[in-house]
């Protein structure tokens, strides 16, 4: 009787293990990272270093630290004209990402703020909405 119970429990334990394993494996990629890889990495590179004097880095960026409220607009509408990052002037247009939703932009902004050696305070979804309402 006891044995039967044990055998019955085995598949349950097995599938519970699979589930927990899955959660552990897939947890490691948050949406912000996936969006970064899809929309940003081909120019700003996987490690965020940018390209020479053509494409500014997102890594250790003083521009991000000084303009946390401007990133949401920059992602949605792109960038034209000169921008100075870590003392270097860049002037290469960045295309807009008009298909990203507010929530996606929120996740992407916070992913960038908390990675690439940046230490910028997280922005709430309300703040991001406010930012997006003040785009030029």
């Amino acid at each position: 009787m006891k044995n039967k119970l044990l055998w019955g429990a085995l598949p349950v334990i097995f599938f519970a293990g699979l589930l927990i394993g899955n959660i552990f494996v897939f947890k490691t990629k948050e949406q912000g990272q996936i969006l970064y890889e899809q929309h940003c990495a081909s120019c700003h590179m996987e490690k965020g270093e940018g390209l020479a004097q053509l494409i500014p880095p997102v890594t250790k960026s003083d521009w991000l630290a000084q303009n946390p409220s401007k990133l949401a607009c920059l992602i949605r509408y792109g960038q034209k004209g000169e921008i100075t990052v870590n003392g270097i002037k860049y002037n290469q247009p960045m295309p807009p990402n008009s298909r990203l939703t507010e929530i996606e932009i929120h996740n992407l902004v916070n992913y960038i703020f908390n990675n690439f050696e940046n230490q910028v305070q997280k922005r709430s979804l309300d703040k991001i909405r406010e930012d997006l309402n003040t785009c030029n």
């Binding site: 081909s42 590179m45 390209l51 053509l54 290469q92």
Partner: protein, 205 residues
């Protein structure tokens, strides 16, 4: 048994010594008359003559690459998809062979908007010398024709980000204008192997 092992070693050793790159593209067998005898000769795919303008406004032709091996690709300065990665990787090629006179680089712009002035500015920003790395522009149909010769597809496509569709391959051309290697210019590991292929080609006799 010992004999076989010994022979195997010799064969392996021989392979190691005569490392050569394949010659890519279609080949044709052509019968020629040499000293009254018919001899069958293999004709390989070679890159035909071309003429473009580089970032300094100078004319760059197939003659520019005479006696050199060169790496070529197709890009455009405002390309938001694969070009920045390609250029990051091509900069590795540039850095490695910067002081090696046997090697040149030729990047074709496929955008009608990339004027000489735009290419000049681009070259300045990635800090390259035009002696070593030519960024060229020309008639669009000429660029397209040459792309085909290097087995690279380019296409105008309004639906693509930036307006053009192209692949990011690097192509290695030898002194006889034959194509000897290609790689995915957006893939660092592939480029690693490509750099080794370039060394093999330089060491060929």
């Amino acid at each position: 048994m010992k004999y076989i092992l010994f022979l195997l070693l010799i064969v392996l050793f021989a392979c190691e010594q005569e490392k050569k790159l394949p010659i890519l593209g279609e080949r044709q067998a052509i019968d020629k008359e040499v000293n009254g005898k018919i001899v069958t000769d293999t004709v390989y795919h070679t890159v035909p003559a071309f003429s473009f303008i580089n970032q300094d406004g100078q004319t760059v032709t197939d003659k520019t690459f005479e006696g050199k091996i060169y790496v070529t690709d197709f890009f455009f300065t405002t390309c938001p998809s694969i070009c920045p990665k390609m250029k990051q990787q091509m900069l590795r090629v540039y850095e490695k062979y910067k002081n090696d006179d046997r090697v040149l680089i030729l990047s074709h712009s496929i955008s009608r908007e990339d004027s000489v002035a735009v290419l000049k500015e681009y070259a300045k920003k990635i800090n390259i010398e035009s002696k070593k790395w030519h960024l060229v522009t020309g008639k669009w149909t000429d660029i397209e024709t040459m792309a085909k010769q290097y087995f690279i597809g380019v296409q105008e496509d309004a639906d693509e980000p930036g307006g053009y569709l192209h692949n990011g391959n690097f192509v290695l051309v030898d002194k006889q204008k034959r194509i000897r290697a290609t790689c995915d210019g957006t893939n660092p590991k592939d480029v690693e192997k490509f750099l080794l292929d370039m060394d093999i080609l330089l060491n060929e006799k």
